[in-house]
Symmetry: D2
Subunit: 214 residues, 4 copies
């Protein structure tokens, strides 16, 4: 699975999602897109899953300005990222949101900033953990060039808590070779952002990434 986070770049979300849809259909692989909350309606337009980037841990009603899980579902969302590095959450709120999404049938991908936090968040039983290991963030290091133990040790720690937890690699992914390496090390896919959305040729980048999936 490839998850593409559109962040809040000023892009045409529907066009980008349609391109992702085409690559998904041609390759037969699963691609998920995460547009801005105001673009979530594209979930009604494309036949791939559209996820929110965040939901607030608030009940419906007296919560002006909040992004509720209920509104994400109604708007066409099939799931959500939680605790992204640009939107860190309190643990009680991650737990609340994971439980609420579960009740509503929304898939959750919880981001984690290191091995310890990844392991901890596994106990909250989200659908996916996206590991953003500090050794892989920034610079020229990728999953392929880094010490493979960095990823595999984290996978091992997570598997001790939940042997079937699905893990996404959320950092150090620059090419299909990195995707293949991440899958080899125990991940089921990757979470990417500007590598695709800001590429000169997003389709070519995405096709390359998809080619690395097992």
């Amino acid at each position: 699975m490839i998850v593409v986070n559109f962040k809040t770049y000023p892009i045409d979300a529907l066009s980008l999602a349609r391109m992702c849809e085409e690559v998904a259909h041609q390759s037969g692989r699963k691609i998920v897109v995460c547009p801005q909350i105001t673009d979530l309606w594209i979930g009604h337009e494309v036949r791939i899953s559209v996820f929110a980037q965040h939901v607030d841990a608030m009940e419906c009603g007296q919560s002006t300005g909040a992004i509720t899980a209920e509104s994400v579902k109604k708007a066409g969302g099939a799931g959500t990222l939680l605790n992204h590095s640009e939107k860190r959450m309190r643990i009680a709120d991650i737990d609340f949101s994971v439980q609420k999404c579960k009740l509503l049938g929304l898939t959750t991908i919880v981001c984690a900033n290191n091995a310890s936090v990844s392991t901890a968040l596994t106990s909250l039983q989200p659908d996916y953990i996206a590991i953003e290991l500090p050794e892989l963030i920034g610079g020229d290091v990728s999953v392929t060039t880094a010490n493979p133990g960095i990823v595999s040790d984290t996978v091992t720690r997570i598997r001790k808590i939940d042997v079937s937890m699905k893990i996404l690699c959320g950092a150090g992914i620059k090419s299909g070779r990195d995707v293949a390496k991440a899958c080899e090390l125990g991940c089921v896919g990757v979470l990417v952002a500007s590598g695709v959305t800001k590429a000169k040729n997003p389709r070519a980048v995405l096709e390359d990434l998809v080619s690395g999936l097992l």
Copy 2:
């Protein structure tokens, strides 16, 4: 002007906005609706102004999960509430958002919890200040039954900073008589929420409120 905050109640935002649109056209008065962020697209469907309930003080790009002013504008929003009592903001962030909205042509209604804060926020030059005076929150007190000095003193303090600031009464509004009283005391309109959205007959309540406008 009547501003109706839909909060995050599980309602059919388009139906409610269409009703508001009808009352606006029949009465010739201005009504603004503030649906949840995922319902902001109704701004393309109705001929009254649709505002967001909040925007984050973030630039576009590396701000996963944020509600940017740019996305609000693109989605069909004509403005936004800021600093609502259920979504309090840091003052540097209110300033940032007011300035950003100004550049984008979005109207800002900044909420304030008492006379001092109302006066302070006036210096940030939003389009409207919505005053939520503590003496008018909860209980059975309304603008009509309360000491009129509570509202008029706040209006006077705001006017000393900016003689033409447009003021909305954001608490103590239960009927058209309260709207009329608020206008008499210097407000140009009101900000209401559950009084309309949770009413058995929202249209009747809204028509009554509108009847109080000067």
Copy 3:
């Protein structure tokens, strides 16, 4: 172990700590006190452990207004509470603070609001987890009168992650019998607050609690 959280009540922290010290010495049991941050210096005056109520996840230096772990240690603190229900933290920040405290030799007690979060936080390897189970908060329910499965199930889940994690019961403790029951169910002690600090006779309450320790 009995941990007494002084919260921010306007009390004479040194007198209260001295009383706790006396009860600790008479009973031979361990009592920890958590005064306000400005009272942490009492750690130099009493021979029981004095903990902070919170530390911010900030490095020393450019962090005006923060409570750093380093300052807690220097001021006489032997440890700290983290993620108290009145001061919830982001999980990345709890992880940061637990690691920092470990390096500095400060003991950490991480609070958790239910069984899932308790289990998750165990993976961050603090010294203690204080479980504040929702079924035991407020009302007349105590550990003794509640379904014992509520506590023992949580203990079991935590033990699956870390068989030797030390668990404190942070809710439903009103008497020595509750302390005894909590210990019987797998806890090594309790975390209490107003039950002691606001009691007419704090010493009598504390002596009763201590009598329940195994």
Copy 4:
């Protein structure tokens, strides 16, 4: 007046405060020091004013981990910074804290990040506004070398709200000449931090700054 913010640098707060005390007495000028919250007790040891760096907008009692204004006063504090750039606050909370400090007899210095926010915060009637103008932050620009209009325009805007508001210059101060210039432009003093605390010879730097006071 010179206000020295110690931030959270690992320094000997009492020694540094004593040095400031000596310079204050030799020069006959007012110097205020702002140590970390755990060092606030030095207020009982020196005969210059000691301020906190921040207080939380919380009442005493059920606010574990908070820094209350009451605790600052009891610990020896004579006042506090509020809304420092490293600890930004919501406007409702700044208002709450300013009012609470006023009741307790604590002096407030509210920091502001630009001319608009400075003007707004003046309406909350703190004792001082510390202006941190963006044009003066970082780089080699100081009050002396910058366009004087940057400071004087802000002073003028503040004076329109409150003709007697005391203004501190919180950025662009590197020498006594800058202090003199800031005073010439309408400030009553300056707020400095690492310029003094991290200097090789803090006393020499402080004596130079003091020499610029009118």
